[in-house]
Symmetry: C2
Subunit: 143 residues, 2 copies
């Protein structure tokens, strides 16, 4: 089975993008210190958000399979990137995040061995983690 | 120079995640047919949104550098994934998008050769496109 997901977007200005996915609207912008109008989180912050949302869903699916009690979780995420390539100043470093660090705090009574198995399964099965960690073809064409 | 971006998230329920990035809140959920409470776009739709936002910003940065007129753009994005791995039913296919297709419609008078150069530069320099197309280390730890 394959599921198709889709979104449409249009530029409200050079940094602000209005995205529609099903009946939801997503506002993306850049902060003022990156030249933006600061009307929303920026694209790479949304990448962290998408990863967090995915880890929550898969974390609960896997916990249920394992009969592991899970009353919720919190997640802290961060990543560093060098804006030089994106700004056209240098191409020495990659354009995107060089690394993404994620710290998960599960609300659970599970022991450490169970938690290790849980974490390994989540990382392996989370779609967003897969798309970041492994190459994903992005085919861009002009209309 | 390195810029750090960060986000915090907590589970409102097993499918709904509330993410905070700076002063912005992002609500992520799953549609009802994927077992969710449908309070927001889902994680993989946010991936498409993040890519769209990034292409808009970088598209305008590159157009300005090239002195290419650009009065805005619209973007359509789609991707397919097999939910079997994420749901724990099969591990034959990868967990995430197998391919992401993007169609950009720029509002411009530029000729086709200029547009080709513009598109190649965007794809190369967009941080989100880089993080999807090339391997990105994701280091997940338990608190």
């Amino acid at each position: 089975m394959k599921l198709k997901f889709a979104a449409k977007a249009s530029s409200a200005n050079p940094t602000k993008t209005v995205v529609t996915a099903r009946n939801f609207q997503i506002i993306i912008d850049e902060p003022k210190d990156l030249g933006g109008t600061d009307d929303g989180a920026n694209p790479v912050e949304y990448v962290l958000g998408a990863l967090a949302g995915c880890l929550n869903v898969v974390g609960h699916v896997v916990a249920k399979e394992m009969n592991m009690p899970l009353n919720g979780l919190s997640i802290e995420l961060e990543g560093d990137l060098d804006p030089a390539k994106f700004m056209g100043k240098s191409a020495k470093e990659r354009a995107g995040y060089q690394e993404i660090r994620v710290k998960i705090t599960p609300d659970t009574t599970a022991d450490i061995e169970t938690l290790g198995q849980w974490l390994a399964a989540i990382e392996e099965r989370c779609p967003v983690s897969d798309n970041l960690q492994n190459p994903t073809p992005v085919k861009i064409t002009l209309a």
